[in-house]
């Protein structure tokens, strides 16, 4: 493993790979720092650029966007109380009060260092966990794949924070869209309505560009973001300088950071849940274990350290199921699957065996992306903060044109039309509270789940019970039921608790 890792680092330092890695990290930080863009939008938007890259350049580029994007969100969150990306939403709670107290530099320094440590921790876990997990998955047959993809899909209920039903519907819509085209088993046409264009199925890349990037522009336009002129004038002149915390300041919060790193990595590993949830849970855990929970929200170092460690720890975690099992661990990693399609790579347990040098280049690229954003964040913070002065209409025009040209370049005019159709669908879904990430998960997992089930049933001579009770399949399915029901039970429990509290108050 050590030798493979050395090969990975060696590959990352090849000129093409290194330029792609640095370029991706810079693009990621900018995307994370600009409200209305985040790493999933940036990944969808820039996916097309990887078309002519070598696979290793493409994946280190995307790794850079992912790690840089999750870090970048904290810059406006701390300076202007505007989370650049949803991952940084918890950082505003203590980061901005610190900035108001004149400690913006220190808050940025704590966030930067904790992002680095959280990210590196998760990469170590990724390197240790992905290969044995993939080896284990080599034993999987169609039934186990079916169970595994159902487990991945069951996590969609946690992707819909507002309504689990809507999240499940979104996932089911993804599954039904995945059935368009020729049936993998019988070769019969499904939902093509006689058009040749749909015979090949829904083109994944224009679909994700539309759902994530273009839909977000429509969403921002509907909310009249174009009328907000960048960041307030008075804040333009703000002097930004990163000040790293001393060891004495970090030592008292070492356990909190470690807890956040573990929590963040674990949440990242869970299919379908990403850095935003990790930041929320990381912050909540820090509050729960703190001796002074009342100080959170007033501008303390721990309040920045916990979410920033956790959200960056989720990046490496989310890559574990993707690289070991072919199941995306977050929305961004689901979009990354597009890059595997583009380069003709089969993602799944065999990937780590068949493309070992590439896999270890990705591991090394993830680690280096963390180091690169640390260096860039330390020395070039002013440039990243400046981007917030950009007015939205210029950004919107640029993003929409980029989406259109990107979709056209990969799928001709038909790809572009498809992209705009998915943009409208994504906009409507977001507007009415249907998260789009489960739909992408459905699009990715549908082609694994359906043939898995049907092949397993054919092998078992249509004995459903025999298929579902295979030990690993049954284990995955039980976990899926548990995962699907947890949010409902949690809601029910909290509602009941709320009623009890109200009863107690009335009695008082």
């Amino acid at each position: 493993m050590f030798n493979d890792l050395l090969v990975g680092f060696y590959s990352c330092f090849q000129p093409g790979n290194f330029i792609a890695l640095v370029g991706g990290t810079i693009a990621g930080i900018f995307a994370g720092a600009i409200p209305g863009l985040d790493c999933s939008v940036a990944t969808a938007l820039l996916l097309t650029l990887t078309y002519k890259m070598t696979p290793s350049e493409a994946f280190v580029f995307l790794a850079g966007i992912y790690c840089g994007g999750v870090y970048g969100g904290q810059i406006p969150a701390i300076l202007f109380r505007v989370p650049g990306a949803s991952e940084a939403v918890m950082t505003t709670l203590d980061g901005y009060p610190m900035a108001q107290k004149g400690e913006a530099g220190k808050a940025l320094g704590v966030g930067l260092l904790c992002s680095l440590l959280g990210g590196l921790f998760s990469v170590v876990i990724l390197i240790l966990l992905a290969p044995p997990l993939a080896n284990l998955a080599l034993e999987f047959g169609p039934a186990e794949y079916f169970g595994l993809s159902i487990l991945g899909l069951s996590c969609i209920s946690s992707l819909g924070a507002r309504s689990q039903i809507k999240a499940i519907i979104s996932g089911l819509l993804g599954l039904i869209l995945a059935t368009v085209g020729l049936d993998q088993i019988t070769g019969m046409e499904r939902f093509t309505f006689g058009t040749g264009m749909l015979q090949g199925g829904i083109n994944f890349i224009p679909a994700v560009i539309g759902l994530f990037a273009a839909a977000e522009v429509y969403n921002q336009i509907s909310q009249r973001r174009y009328e907000i002129s960048g960041v307030r004038e008075k804040e333009k002149s703000k002097r930004v300088k990163v000040k790293l915390p001393s060891l004495g300041e970090l030592w008292p919060i070492k356990w909190s950071m470690l807890r956040s790193a573990i929590v963040g990595t674990w949440i990242g590993i869970l299919p379908g849940v990403g850095a935003t949830t990790a930041a929320i849970v990381g912050y909540a855990t820090a509050v729960r274990f703190s001796k002074h929970p009342e100080k959170f929200g007033t501008g303390i170092i721990e309040g920045v350290a916990a979410p920033e460690t956790a959200n960056n720890a989720a990046t490496g975690g989310a890559m574990v199921p993707l690289l070991a099992l072919g199941i995306p661990g977050s929305a961004t990693t689901a979009i990354m699957i597009g890059a595997f399609y583009l380069h003709g790579l089969q993602i799944g347990p065999m990937f780590l065996q068949q493309h070992k040098p590439l896999a270890y280049t990705i591991f090394a690229g993830m680690a280096l992306a963390n180091v690169i954003f640390f260096i860039l964040g330390f020395f070039a913070i002013k440039a990243f903060a400046k981007v917030l002065e950009l007015k939205y209409p210029y950004l919107a025009a640029n993003i929409l044109a980029f989406c259109a040209v990107g979709a056209t370049a990969l799928g001709d005019i038909y790809g572009m039309k498809m992209m705009f159709i998915f943009a409208i669908l994504g906009f409507l879904m977001e507007r009415y509270g249907y998260p789009v990430a489960p739909m992408v998960l459905g699009l990715v997992l549908g082609p694994i789940a359906e043939p898995g089930l049907r092949r397993a049933l054919l092998i078992a001579d249509y004995d459903v019970w025999l298929v579902l009770t295979r030990p690993i399949t049954a284990f995955f399915l039980i976990l899926s039921i548990f995962s699907l029901l947890t949010p409902f039970l949690r809601n029910l429990f909290s509602r009941r608790k709320g009623h009890e509290m109200m009863d107690i108050k009335r009695e008082d």
Binding site: I169, R190, Y226, P393, N398, A401, Y432, R454
Partner: protein, 161 residues
């Protein structure tokens, strides 16, 4: 709320229609028990069931709000968004005729105007600059084929390709 109800109704009706379409899929004798319609039908039943639940919940909620007269939906200039979407599709259709270069410049000029930018020199400069960046990235660096358009537009585009 009304928009949400319409969205649920559309989901419900389209799913029923697709369920009917799935029933018309050609069957392949050796896999008759596990035909190509089995999986889509299962998923569509799920969507029909869940969107039905949402529909009932939303209608109940709407009636309550109507009774309380407390709900007000605030539409924020929907016509501007419709125009932007319309322009997007015009761009998608226009690219095949006018080619990538011309249509991208015009698209951005119109879009910026729709988004209330009124400094025309700036609009033109930004549109030209953005298109130049896309041209360098996709055509020069990535050697990707972008539509050159037809007729005279094709001739002009090919000068740059």
């Amino acid at each position: 709320m009304r928009g949400e109800i319409i969205f649920s109704v559309v989901l419900f009706v389209v799913s029923i229609f697709l369920y009917y379409v799935a029933g018309t899929f050609k069957q392949f004798a050796p896999y008759a028990k596990l035909g190509p319609d089995l999986w889509p039908k299962g998923i569509l039943l799920g969507i029909i069931f869940l969107s039905g639940i949402l529909l009932v919940k939303n209608i109940t909620s709407l009636i309550r709000h109507e009774l309380k007269r407390s709900s007000k939906t605030i539409e924020q200039e929907p016509y501007r968004l419709f125009l932007v979407i319309g322009v997007s599709f015009a761009y998608a259709f226009g690219m095949g005729i006018f080619g990538f270069l011309l249509s991208t410049i015009v698209f951005q000029v119109v879009l910026l105007y729709l988004l209330k930018v009124r400094r025309f020199v700036l609009i033109l400069l930004v549109s030209l600059l953005n298109t130049a960046v896309l041209y360098v990235l996709f055509i020069l660096l990535l050697s990707m084929l972008l539509p050159p358009g037809v007729g005279i537009f094709r001739t002009i585009s090919l000068l740059f390709y």
